[in-house]
Symmetry: C3
Subunit: 502 residues, 3 copies
Amino acid sequence: MKRFIGVISLLVCCLLSSVHGGLVPKVIVPEGGLSPQTEACISCHSMYTPGIVHDWMTSRHSKTIPGEAMKKLPIEKRISAESLPQSLQGYAVGCYECHSLNPDTHKDNFRHMGYSINVIVTPNDCKTCHPIEATQFAGSKKSYAHKNLMGNPVYHALTSTITGMRRFGNNQLLAEKPSEATLHETCLGCHGTNVERRGTKNISTKLGNLEIPDLTNWPNQGVGRVNPDSSTGACTACHPRHGFSIEVARKPYTCSQCHLEPDVPAWNVYRESKHGNIYSSKYQEWQFDSVPWVIGKDFKAPTCATCHNSLIVSPGGDLIIERTHDFGSRLWVRLFGLIYSHPQPKSGDTTIINNRDGLPLPVTFAGDPASEYLIDKSEQERRLTAMSSICKNCHGSNWTSGHFAKLDSTIKETNAMTATATNVMVSAWDKGIEDKTNPFDESLEQMWASQWLFYGNSIRYASAMTGAPDYASFKNGWWYLNKNLQLMRNWMDFKKEVKEKD
Amino acid sequence: MKRFIGVISLLVCCLLSSVHGGLVPKVIVPEGGLSPQTEACISCHSMYTPGIVHDWMTSRHSKTIPGEAMKKLPIEKRISAESLPQSLQGYAVGCYECHSLNPDTHKDNFRHMGYSINVIVTPNDCKTCHPIEATQFAGSKKSYAHKNLMGNPVYHALTSTITGMRRFGNNQLLAEKPSEATLHETCLGCHGTNVERRGTKNISTKLGNLEIPDLTNWPNQGVGRVNPDSSTGACTACHPRHGFSIEVARKPYTCSQCHLEPDVPAWNVYRESKHGNIYSSKYQEWQFDSVPWVIGKDFKAPTCATCHNSLIVSPGGDLIIERTHDFGSRLWVRLFGLIYSHPQPKSGDTTIINNRDGLPLPVTFAGDPASEYLIDKSEQERRLTAMSSICKNCHGSNWTSGHFAKLDSTIKETNAMTATATNVMVSAWDKGIEDKTNPFDESLEQMWASQWLFYGNSIRYASAMTGAPDYASFKNGWWYLNKNLQLMRNWMDFKKEVKEKD
Amino acid sequence: MKRFIGVISLLVCCLLSSVHGGLVPKVIVPEGGLSPQTEACISCHSMYTPGIVHDWMTSRHSKTIPGEAMKKLPIEKRISAESLPQSLQGYAVGCYECHSLNPDTHKDNFRHMGYSINVIVTPNDCKTCHPIEATQFAGSKKSYAHKNLMGNPVYHALTSTITGMRRFGNNQLLAEKPSEATLHETCLGCHGTNVERRGTKNISTKLGNLEIPDLTNWPNQGVGRVNPDSSTGACTACHPRHGFSIEVARKPYTCSQCHLEPDVPAWNVYRESKHGNIYSSKYQEWQFDSVPWVIGKDFKAPTCATCHNSLIVSPGGDLIIERTHDFGSRLWVRLFGLIYSHPQPKSGDTTIINNRDGLPLPVTFAGDPASEYLIDKSEQERRLTAMSSICKNCHGSNWTSGHFAKLDSTIKETNAMTATATNVMVSAWDKGIEDKTNPFDESLEQMWASQWLFYGNSIRYASAMTGAPDYASFKNGWWYLNKNLQLMRNWMDFKKEVKEKD
């Protein structure tokens, strides 16, 4: 990979330069160069979608011959395949190498300028060179993000209630179902849409009319997207096209696209933490592109990727923690309250859970965990120890254990504060003040949901990344956790009063 | 412009250096140097306001001889005048070149150390070298930002109601008019104040007493500022003094000063979008200073300026879109709901609108657009096509059309959700629960205003820059759009109950 | 300090390299090198906590021989001691130099590998080389941040009420006291915990079992932390370990860890101000490490540190303002409303205040300041003049005075709006609608607290850093200030109605 040979001006560039007379793309390619098919792609697309081509030109893909990349030391490899198809070994990773894979499984495949092209490159295609990553991802909650939301009747009730339209008639608010478009750009923006081919359509382009697949719920890069080849996920959720950069994925802005306040304020808390402060002040001097990633040398404070998925070694070369693309696999507890915080589920598919309320929720309404679907104490211990092994490169044992003890206490207390809100709501149900059929569509119920979804979650994230005290205090924290209970209590009285009068 | 010759130490520096013995400013100036007047300015101001002088020293102005700049290729020009006054052609653009223009129109002009100086440099002055930009700007809604707010009785009622003081007496909240100071630093901080000369005042400085113009509502750089020369606007709103940098204006932090949550969360949405993520992760490697701005080469993801106003070319040199300083001119729809989202108005002066309610609002209370004042379908189509031509450098036709189809749906739905809130409020008015005289001063009315001003707007901005799903969901999005309706419905009951008891 | 001589590979590195065969830390140290004790520390800790060691390697400490640093020009000195202990003069500032100081006062001292080591380095230890900074800090409100919060019965009631648990029983919300863990990660995250040694504990490490001090409320770097040597404060609050960088402290991300919305939105306002915009757009080109800090040359727009504590000179070398580590000492007014904005207190210890209500608050409930504990008009004038001397390097007199006149008006108006909310609440108390015993635990009271703690504060911060108009308007600003009063007024009626019915 360090043996780049030269600068090859693509034939097409010469052709184009005679047309445009101006700047033409020069692709710096490694020995071996581009495949003829990719050269053909670029010959048109450098004119029609030059942004894509130039972005790819900055990528490692455009400079890497997979056959050469296979020869690296295991710890330095960015490719995890044991062997590669012959056709991919000798050329740089270009347009055709990715957009032509597994055409038979791709309902989004179409004939395009003489080639058979998939519109969407899916995790199952990336798996050709990156099988370990794809397999880890496939078992993760992220991979099931669409199904876990839309296939769970409780969460589905939540999404339908809050994204559906309301009309006002006969003094009542009348509910409608949410549209596909609205689901697409709210919940499924992150969870991923269901992208299917519904037919073919004609578009007019600078090259004339083209016939292309007509896709539903497109564009979308949600992490649990259901793809036209039946795979799930979108590697581009974190490695945006067409740079596919490890640097971008390691910087916290990527995670911040979905993990943000008020429901999952991981990014907001990080930014205001000590770690986030050091990152923001000094990241310009750090290395975000090296594999393995050397703690203390490449970076001085963790980003999200450091703790959650990167391969980390010490400056002396000792392995600290292996890379993983199952993003929950280092976590012992799930801070995200549904409706209570709980041990991580065993399977990425959480629709299989069946708790003692008979619901697919990891915890019952009263706070009882569905333990057989959740990791046990010893697995929790194992993961806590592994995560702590990262912390301990910069922090003493006392520091680390003190930190996590505080988190334990906070999980218990925020769960108890959710239980209090649940008790207030149940009391309102029992008195007929609100109706329990849909637990998300009336005012007290929505205050109850805020208690765990916004306030409980914020406090737990703040605790987990100690140092952003306002998310635990006045900014969606304890202030609101308590204020909300007072409001609920008063609101119960107000509604009761109106009800009795009727 | 590339032919800088040397480093000229200003005479004054020598003088000053003998006094201060320390660091003295070295101004790198192009052939031709500074005018004698500007040298005189600097001789004092490098001591008395060194920050300004040093900031200007980093500017392109300090290194540019307009006469030379005129010779560039049209596509590379940053100056749009066909011809320039003789006096400005041969010197770098310094203090005197800008602060001495059009003195007769400037009520803020005063005699200062033997020169006739304007305190404020206005768009009409910048127009000397930048007439196209100044003229485009003059027709834009930004240029009318003060008038459009303060000259419209409905919006004026809003500003007065929310920024005016309240006293508590006789169990009632008694309203007062807002002060100039508070209007200045709330609404008019962005919309621009009315800066007039009310007289002259004496100030004591290190140089002794000076007599200077006494200005109202100063300082302010609101984009629609009414200037003492009767022009409107402040180029410094986006090109801050005294660097006047195109780089700063192209970075999103500039726009973020005014276009931010909860009412116009353009910046907040951008930052959390895929585009914003790529910007934040990689902008250090991009070029923000080049003219023309080359898509794919100078930058890999758009900033606000890319889509809304910059001159963009392809790496091959093809024109993608012309520069504009009429910031609405590429837009087919106005996402900002007043009270409903609507087609862009034809004129930057929106006070001329007269809808079927007889009000200067682009849409009636019931949702009926004042179409004769708004651009028509074919103009909307033309603008959508032009904007899409930028998208298509990195995205396929399918992607682009899918994106904008989603936006269309969201505009319709959020408008409908505003209509529902309007219907609830009208019902409250009809029942005598609240009083319609001022539609902004009671609780239900304020919930109604939140529906369109905060929640509807947030969702539309999130849709327009797809990829910041939380602004469409839990963060001022659909969650609140629906929750707010429930609260309004309950609040109506509560207030009715109290009313009936009285 | 400019006379670095060479690169010394630590003996330990050779030893370690034979074990690890990989990357080993090379410490670039100045002439004189590291003390034998510090070399011993590093020999193990470069293996066990390599992150710390590598962070320190990037620090100025690792490259500075204090004896040499003493010889600098006074204006360039970063060390303020007149003389130093002999033992510290000749070696770089390493682990042992800091962690071994004043062992007799340190209850957190323990025997560690043959050395007597303090777990926590406190301001009293840093004072050895930095006595002026430590002394200034010791007199500041920051140093009393723990005591001022927890030792004041009113604020203590606030913290207890909002961070304590609530249970629901007999239709009532029953209050419990907050846990140490929750206080630790909410209020005391910034204000500082009380760190005491409660005994000794055994931990198992890679080196075998170690006996270490068992500390309460650890880890914490709150700025008013109470340390085991009885000192208060944590220099690491702003100069994070182990880089101890002046650059980090001068960048606004450091201040943003605690000074953020909704109660103290200094960072949020700054980021959206003109100054913040210029910072974000251009800071990569500025110098954050130079002493003295040259306005206009090292930076073009202020960060928090510029106005509040750094030593600033002009490009000509003139002193503009002296460095201070008493962070309130340049301020004439305390924007933070308790419950009204007021002149800065004379003493950093605000628990000594006794106002005419008999409470340790700087202002009475009705708005009457406890003037004898607050700085007087002439001291206020003196500080305003000093602060303005910074502004005037980039802004004219007219500009500067106009800016601060606006702030004056805003302080008066926001205080009046707090008074209105107070009057509404008192009226509710008088009518028996809520109970005044604890002024923070009922809904109307919490709305009242929001009035000054969130909305009044936000508006004042926005005014003080003019240019972030949304924090004065729709984002926790005047919109909410007025809306909140309407809600309070309605809520009073609703609660009264329920009460009368009972």
